[in-house]
C-alpha cells in the first residue's frame, strides 16, 4: 500500500518543483565597468552585498597564505578610522561585515537592514574598508599570529593534514597546491607591504564582480552598486589560473600522527567550471558518493561494513581543474580493509557506470532538490557569485535541471573512464603507523 502511495507521489511531487520559475537575475555593469548580478528579494527588509575578486590562494605566488592575510586585514580599519573605530561604527548599524578567500576568489561582504538609517552608514563604511584599508602594523602582527596559531593547531588535525598533503600530491608546482592558510615559513616572512601590494594588484575594478540580493528596487541597486565601486582603481584583471597537468602516476603519501583513526583520501585533479564533462561527472558522482546515505560508497563503507562514520566523493569545480576527492576515516587497524573497499567500489563504478535506476534516482534528487539550494537570500548570494565569477549563463538556474535530465549512463561511464584514473590518483593516509602484515 505504501508503495502505491509513493509511486503516485513521485509523479505529482516533482511537477511543482519543475514548474517553479527560478528567481530573476538582473545583470548590468557599473559606470566603471564592474559586472553586477542582482536579485530583488522584497520579502525581508535586508540586503546582502558581496564584492568578489579573482584574489584567492591561486594568486599567492611564492608566499602561500598571502591572499588570506590580505583579505583578513580588510575591515581592520580604514585610512581615517582605526580598527576600533571602524568596528564600533559598523556594529552600531547592526550590519555584519565579513570576508573570505578560497582558491580562485576572495570577497568582502555586508549584510545590512535596508532601512536607510542603518544601510547608509553601513554601506559607506564597507566602501571605505574596501577602498582605503589601513594595513596598520599592529593589525598585521595580530592577524599573522592568529594564522600561526592556526597552523600550529593543524599539526594535530588529521583532516587538515590530509587535505594539505592531498593538494600537494595532486598539484605539485601548480598554485592550487598552496595551503590557503600558509606555511610556517611563508607566514614568518609576511610583511604589511606584501599584503598592501597584493591588495593593490587584485582588489581593482577590472578584477571585480558585485553580487546583491535584497529588498531593493533595480534603481536603488544601480545607485548603490555605482557608489560602492566608484573609488576602486581600475587596474587589470588577474591572469587566468594556469591549466593543471594530471600527474603521470599517483603518489602514495603517509603522514604519521598518533591517534585512533586513519584518514584516507584518494584524489586527482578533476574538472573546471566550464568543463565539457561537467554534468556527466557531477551527476555520476552523485551516484558514487555525493548523494548521502543512498550513494554507493556510503552503502559499501558504512552501511555494509561499519568502516567509517562519514564517507563521500566530490568534485570541486574551479577555474582550472579542481580536486576530485574520495575520503573516509576508519579505525587504524581497519585501514587496509577500508582502502580495499574504497578502491573496489570505484573500480566497479568505472567499469560499469551507474545502473539506470541509480541514475534516475540521482537525477530526481538533484532536480527535485535544486530549489533547496536557492531558497533564501544567503544561498542565492552564493549561487550568483558562482554564476558571475565563472561566467556561467544567466539562465543557469533554469538550465540546470534540463542539463541534469539529459545525462545518460553511457555518458557517465565514458566520462569517468576518460577522466578518473585510479593509477593516477594520489593516495593519502594520515594516522598512526601500522606495521606491514
Amino acid at each position: 500500500m505504501n508503495k502505491v502511495l509513493c509511486t503516485a507521489l513521485v509523479g505529482w511531487c516533482l511537477w511543482p518543483i519543475l514548474a517553479w520559475s527560478a528567481p530573476r537575475i538582473e545583470r548590468w555593469e557599473t559606470a566603471n565597468g564592474v559586472p553586477v548580478l542582482f536579485v530583488a528579494a522584497p520579502e525581508i527588509p535586508m540586503l546582502k552585498v558581496r564584492l568578489v575578486f579573482a584574489a584567492g590562494s591561486a594568486y599567492d605566488g611564492a608566499a602561500p597564505g598571502l591572499a588570506s592575510l590580505t583579505n583578513g586585514l580588510l575591515g581592520e580599519g580604514t585610512r581615517t578610522l582605526t580598527a576600533d573605530e571602524f568596528h564600533r561604527q559598523m556594529e552600531a548599524t547592526g550590519a555584519q561585515f565579513g570576508g573570505g578567500a578560497l582558491r580562485d576568489m576572495a570577497w568582502v561582504s555586508l549584510r545590512t537592514l535596508t532601512d536607510p538609517v542603518y544601510a547608509e552608514p553601513a554601506l559607506k563604511l564597507a566602501c571605505a574598508a574596501l577602498t582605503q584599508p589601513r594595513f596598520a602594523a599592529e593589525d598585521f602582527a595580530r592577524v599573522r599570529q592568529q594564522m600561526r596559531a592556526g597552523l600550529l593547531q593543524e599539526k594535530s588535525s588529521p583532516g587538515a593534514l590530509g587535505d594539505k598533503a592531498m593538494l600537494h600530491a595532486i598539484y605539485g608546482k601548480h598554485p592550487y597546491a598552496n595551503p590557503s592558510g600558509g606555511t610556517e615559513t611563508s607566514v614568518a616572512a609576511f610583511t604589511p607591504a606584501a599584503a598592501a601590494a597584493f591588495y593593490q594588484r587584485y582588489y581593482v575594478s577590472n578584477n571585480a564582480l558585485l553580487v546583491m540580493v535584497g529588498a531593493l528596487t533595480r534603481e536603488a541597486a544601480t545607485r548603490i552598486a555605482d557608489t560602492l565601486v566608484a573609488k576602486l582603481p581600475r587596474g587589470a584583471h588577474a591572469p587566468a589560473v594556469p591549466p593543471v597537468v594530471v600527474p603521470a602516476a599517483g603518489q602514495s603519501v603517509h603522514i604519521d600522527l598518533p591517534g585512533e583513526q586513519s584518514h584516507l583520501l584518494l584524489a586527482q585533479p578533476g574538472i573546471t567550471r566550464s568543463d565539457p564533462d561537467y554534468f556527466p561527472l557531477v551527476v555520476g558522482n552523485h551516484v558514487l558518493g555525493g548523494n548521502g546515505p543512498v550513494s554507493l560508497l556510503f552503502q559499501e563503507i558504512r552501511e555494509r561494513r561499519g568502516l567509517s562514520y562519514s564517507v563521500d566523493s566530490h568534485f570541486e569545480p574551479l577555474a582550472a581543474a579542481g580536486p576530485f576527492v574520495i575520503s573516509l576515516q576508519t579505525e587504524a587497524r581497519r585501514e587496509r580493509e577500508a582502502q580495499q573497499v574504497m578502491h573496489e567500489t570505484l573500480a566497479a563504478f568505472l567499469a560499469e557506470g551507474p545502473s539506470e535506476a541509480a541514475l534516475l534516482a540521482a537525477k530526481h534528487n538533484l532536480i527535485g532538490g535544486f530549489p533547496l539550494r536557492i531558497d533564501n537570500n544567503n544561498k542565492l548570494t552564493e549561487y550568483l557569485t558562482v554564476i558571475g565569477f565563472y561566467r556561467l549563463p544567466l539562465d543557469y538556474l533554469e538550465a540546470y535541471p534540463r542539463a541534469v535530465e539529459a545525462v545518460t549512463v553511457a555518458q557517465i561511464r565514458d566520462a569517468f573512464q576518460r577522466r578518473v584514473r585510479p593509477d593516477h590518483m594520489a593516495q593519502i593516509t594520515v594516522g598512526p603507523h601500522i606495521a606491514p602484515p
Partner: protein, 447 residues
C-alpha cells in the same frame, strides 16, 4: 562627496513590513504538539520532529543510548525495508538528517512543500514501528565508535571539553557526553535501545515543527491523518538530578601533547529561563536577558570589549570569547574561552578576563554599548528570518525544553528593556570565584 552619493542612492529602497512571521500551534488528541510557521518565499518546507529525550536523560553506565537510537531510526520499520526511507526522500529531492543533544533528539526533512504529507507518513511510521535488528545494530555500533573516534578521541579540543564538563558538573547529567563514554558504547545492548524507544517515542513526548510554504489548516488535517491514530502513552517522570551546590573554585590542567596552542576555558554555573520561578527561587526573568547582554558586552562582535581590549588594545589574547546558554532544559553555563598571545601566560589571560568582569561589577556598561547591542539584536532577529531551518530550530528548541515558543517574539523587547544597572547586577551576582571551574589546556604537564 562620498557621503552625498550614498544618501542619494537609498531613495528607491522598498521598505517591507517587519512584523513577525505568522506562527500557530495546535495539539492532537494523543498529545502531539504541532507548531506551524508560514513562509511562502519558495515552494519548500522544513519538517522537524523533536523528541524529549537526549544525553541528559541517561543514567551512568548507559550513556549514548539516545544517540545510538537516533542512528537506528534510519533502519528498518514494520512497513519500510532498511534504506527505503532514505531512498524515497532522496528520490524526491529531499535532504534528511537528525541530531541528538543533551536535551533532545530531532529528525528533519527539507524538500518541496508538497511532500509534507510524506514526511508525516514516514515520521509517524518510525515513531511507533521501528524494528531493532541485532545484525544492523552490531554494524551501527561500529559506525558510532568511528564517530566517537573522529569527533572526540582524535580531537584534542573536543576531548578536553568532554573532560572539563565532567569536572564542572558533579551531579547534573550535563556531565555526560551525548555520544556516550567509550566503555558505555562498548557494552550497549539492543535491549537498552528498545527500552528507550518504547519509553520516549510517543506522540505526547514529541513536537512537530513545520516551517515553509504550507497552509496551517492543511497541516492540521495531515497531522491528524498520519499521527492521529498513534496511541498516547505514559512517559515516566524523570528523576531530578540537580547539581549539588558548588562551594569553591575548581581548577584543572588538561595536558595533551596534541594541544599545540594553549587555551583557557572558564565555566560559571548560572541559571537560564527554565530556572525562573521553578527550581531556584529568587531568579527574575530580567536576569536571564541581562546575562545575554553581559555576554554581548564582552563578546558581541568585533567592537565588544574582549575584541577591543584583550585582542586589540592590550594584545593579551589571540582570541577571547564569552557564551551563555539561556534556554537549556537544566541549569547551564556561562563560559569564557581564550587563547593567549605569544609570551602571555594562561594565568595572565585568566587575570585579564576576570579583570573585564571586575570592571563590569564596578561600573555598568555605557549607554553607547547597550545601544549597539540592542541594534544588533533587532537586526539579527530580521536576518534570521532568511533561513527556514533556523526558524524551525528556534521554535523546536524552546518547546522541547518546556519553554513557551512565543518567547522568540518577546526576545527583542526583553533585551531592549535591559538597563546598564541590571547588567552590572548580574555581573556581581553570578561570577563569584567559588562558582567557577577553570581549565588550562596545555601540551605538557608542568614539571
Amino acid at each position: 562627496m562620498f557621503a552625498r552619493l550614498i544618501s542619494l542612492c537609498l531613495a528607491g529602497i522598498t521598505i517591507t513590513t517587519t512584523a513577525a512571521p505568522l506562527t500557530q500551534e495546535f495539539t492532537l488528541e494523543n498529545g502531539l504538539r504541532v507548531i506551524v510557521q508560514e513562509d511562502h518565499r519558495a515552494p519548500v518546507v522544513v519538517v522537524q520532529i523533536w523528541y524529549k529525550v537526549g544525553g541528559s536523560y541517561e543514567l551512568d553506565g548507559a550513556t549514548g543510548v539516545s544517540h545510538a537510537l537516533e542512528h537506528m531510526m534510519f533502519k528498518r520499520t514494520k512497513h519500510f525495508a532498511t534504506g527505503e526511507f532514505s531512498r524515497r526522500i532522496a528520490e524526491l529531492g529531499g535532504r534528511e538528517n537528525a541530531f541528538t543533544t543533551a536535551d533532545y533528539t530531532t529528525y528533519f526533512q527539507q524538500w518541496a512543500a508538497s511532500n509534507v504529507g510524506l514526511s508525516f507518513e514516514l515520521e509517524a511510521e518510525r515513531m511507533r514501528n521501528l524494528v531493532l535488528d541485532p545484525a544492523e545494530f552490531a554494524n551501527e555500533l561500529k559506525v558510532i565508535r568511528e564517530e566517537r573516534r573522529l569527533r572526540t578521541d582524535d580531537s584534542p579540543q573536543a576531548l578536553a571539553l568532554e573532560t572539563l564538563l565532567a569536572h564542572t558538573w558533579q551531579t547534573s547529567p550535563y556531565r555526560q557526553p551525548v555520544i556516550g563514554w567509550a566503555a558505555d558504547i562498548e557494552q550497549m545492548q539492543l535491549a537498552d535501545l528498545s527500552v528507550w524507544y518504547q519509553r520516549y517515542y510517543a506522540p505526547n513526548n514529541a513536537i512537530l515543527v513545520v516551517v515553509g510554504d504550507v497552509v496551517p489548516s492543511a497541516i492540521q488535517a495531515l497531522s491528524k491523518q498520519y499521527f492521529g491514530a498513534l496511541p498516547r502513552q505514559d512517559v515516566p517522570l524523570l528523576k531530578n538530578r540537580p547539581e549539588v551546590p558548588q562551594t569553591g573554585l575548581k581548577r584543572l590542567t588538561i595536558a595533551n601533547s596534541k594541544q599545540r596552542v594553549p587555551r583557557l576555558i572558564m565555566n560559571y554555573k548560572v541559571p537560564g529561563l527554565t530556572q525562573v520561578g521553578r527550581t531556584k527561587p529568587g531568579i527574575e526573568v530580567w536576569e536571564i536577558y541581562a546575562l545575554e547582554v553581559l555576554a554581548a558586552t564582552l563578546d558581541g562582535g568585533a567592537s565588544a570589549r574582549f575584541a577591543r581590549e584583550l585582542v586589540r588594545g592590550s594584545e593579551i589574547a589571540l582570541a577571547a570569547g564569552a557564551s551563555y546558554s539561556s534556554t537549556s532544559r537544566l541549569a547551564d553555563l556561562f563560559t569564557f574561552d581564550g587563547v593567549p598571545r605569544d609570551g602571555v601566560s594562561l594565568e595572565q589571560l585568566e587575570a585579564a578576563i576576570k579583570g573585564q568582569l571586575a570592571t563590569l561589577q564596578k561600573t555598568p556598561p555605557t549607554k553607547d554599548e547597550l545601544a549597539r547591542i540592542k541594534t544588533g539584536v533587532v537586526a539579527e532577529n530580521i536576518y534570521q528570518r532568511d533561513s527556514l531551518f533556523s526558524q524551525a530550530m528556534i521554535l523546536g528548541s524552546l518547546a522541547v525544553v518546556g519553554l513557551d515558543w512565543h518567547l522568540k517574539d518577546q526576545y527583542v523587547a526583553q533585551i531592549q528593556a535591559i538597563t546598564p544597572a541590571q547588567v552590572q547586577a548580574v555581573a556581581r551576582k553570578y561570577f563569584a570565584d567559588d562558582m567557577a571551574t577553570v581549565a588550562y589546556l596545555v601540551s605538557e604537564q608542568a614539571p
